[in-house]
Amino acid sequence: MPSLNRRAIGAFALIGAIVMALLAGFGWAAGWLGGRRISGGDITTALEANGGGARPGYRRAHAKGLCFTGDFAATGAGSVLTSAGALRAGTIPVLGRFSLGGGNPLANDGRNVFHSMALLLKTLDGQEWRMALDHTPIFPVADVPSFIALQRATTPDPRTGKPDPAVLQPFLAAHPEVKAFQVYMAKAVLPNSFANATYYSINAFRLTDAGGTTRFVRWQFVPEAPLAGLDKQHLDQLPRDALFQEMIARTAKGPSRWHLLLIEANPGDVTDKATVAWQGPHRTIDAGTLTIRATQPEETGSCRDFNFDPTILPEGIALSDDPLLAARSKGYSSSFTRRAAEGPHPSAVGEDLAKGVQQ
């Protein structure tokens, strides 16, 4: 019997060790043990804190928006770079969303921030190509830790309403790439309409053609409407929803069009940092025309309940090695899950419509 007891004790110890090892491995995988990872919640929480707290029910970034619908007519020329069905000659329906940067869904349109266009293209086989494009060709930071640091460094001080220089200056010193973006934003024309802005893919992607050749590509939607800028000195004089109302009125009169230009990377172009612009001439392909035919407030449009995750891509288009792409996907997903649980709230445009009904 003593040998049996010893054997039983050994067996119990072995079973306990196996279970504990699995638990420890699980705890490590989940990030509860060992080195802390930056989760989607960390990104979302940093955005919320930057905006002075969470606004339940809204996107944590680009909270102020307007839905639109239209179509994309591909020329077929894009097929030399990608086998993606959306770029084969033909027309597919499109839905999307115009938005302005920041987490305040009722903020004034007169701010020197991202003007953005999100798109969802779906082909008959169910494949989707989602995009979240900004009116700047570059992004202020190149990776997730820098993005979170940027949110912290630019959080307005409650006493002054401006970022605390004691926090901002050391951050800018450590991140010269942000300075490049700030200089760009100060100099660049701030479009006076959603319809005359060029919208950029921000990140590079890998496009694979039918023959299996893969190339790095950035893309942009170039408007047919000529660019005109807002007066940056008097942005505070704009009515709160000036840009959104202008787009609604413009679209009621007729459609707006953009050309999708695919820009192939030259040898040596940076493909893993969205902070670096590509310089000089590039092989450029006009892949088709985006036509926006109707706008809808988020209450009645279909864009509000979609996450425009730029990593949702069709076959023939894949992520580059830019770490910002996974971070955008994760941050958007975390924001989406939070607002889904909170339930939707009125949009700026929808709020005015609701008032109009009451009056």
């Binding site: 040998s3 049996l4 010893r6 054997r7 039983a8 004790i9 050994g10 067996a11 119990f12 072995l14 079973i15 196996i18 279970v19 699995l22 638990l23 491995g25 699980f26 995988a29 989940a30 990030g31 990872r37 930056i38 989760s39 989607g40 960390d42 990104i43 086989d125 169910g126 494949q127 989707e128 997730v144 309940d305 979609f306 996450n307 990593t311 949702i312 069709p314 076959e315 992520l319 090695d321 770490p323 792409l325 996974a326 971070a327 996907s329 994760k330 941050g331 989406f336 899950t337 607002r339 889904a340 649980a341 339930g343 939707p344």
Partner: protein
């Protein structure tokens, strides 16, 4: 249904161990991808969807096979309460194996996401696009996954208790099987003469 053989059907044993590997891998992939916003997030998510659907297909094959071929009788000396716990835990394991991939698929449907399996293959939605439903299922997906991991640890510990402490042939019925098809469990690894020669 009680099975005449002391072992599970060989096909069921293959399915059990294949699914054990896939399900454990999925639980680790799942919690890891939730924890990070690095490039591993997108790569793991692209694995998570097709493996989840593979598990759903495998459990759809496995449950009818299990019901048709039955399970060997538990040892006669096992307490009735233990037998009921064993039965209940297996019902819960099967329920979780069905629920987890279905909730995952339903959650992506309700969130308006395409359910991409790779190679351009996209599954159709199984629920309407509804964010409140998405939020509910997203929370349920985590809760069921954690419950399944706890169940698997209990199941593993119980299996090892049978194999290493009781040595009653229950573990062997799901692994290599008994050498002779109709040997009563008492005659194989419960033999005290054999145990005395084993290392403690």
């Amino acid at each position: 249904m009680t099975r005449a053989s002391p072992d599970f059907h060989p096909a069921l044993r293959v399915l059990h161990w294949l699914m054990a590997a896939l399900v454990l891998a999925m639980l680790f992939i799942g919690v890891f991808m939730v924890s990070t916003s690095g490039p591993a997030y997108v790569a793991l998510l692209d694995l998570h969807r097709p493996i989840g659907i593979a598990i759903l297909v495998l459990v759809l094959l496995r449950l009818p096979l299990r019901l048709a071929t039955g399970a060997p009788a538990l040892p006669a000396d096992l307490a009735p309460l233990q037998k009921r716990i064993a039965w209940g835990s297996h019902v819960l394991l099967y329920a979780a194996l069905f629920a987890l991939p279905l909730v995952g698929w339903g959650m992506l449907s309700a969130g308006g996401y395409p359910v991409r399996l790779g190679g351009g293959f996209v599954l159709p939605p199984i629920l309407p696009h509804d964010l409140a439903l998405y939020a509910l299922l997203r929370a349920a997906h985590t809760a069921i996954a954690l419950a399944l991991f706890a169940l698997i640890l209990l199941h593993l510990a119980a299996g090892l208790m049978h194999g290493l402490v009781r040595r009653d042939g229950v573990l062997r019925s799901m692994t290599t099987g008994h050498r002779q098809a109709h040997t009563p469990p008492i005659a194989d690894d419960d033999n005290p003469g054999e145990t005395a020669t084993l290392p403690a």
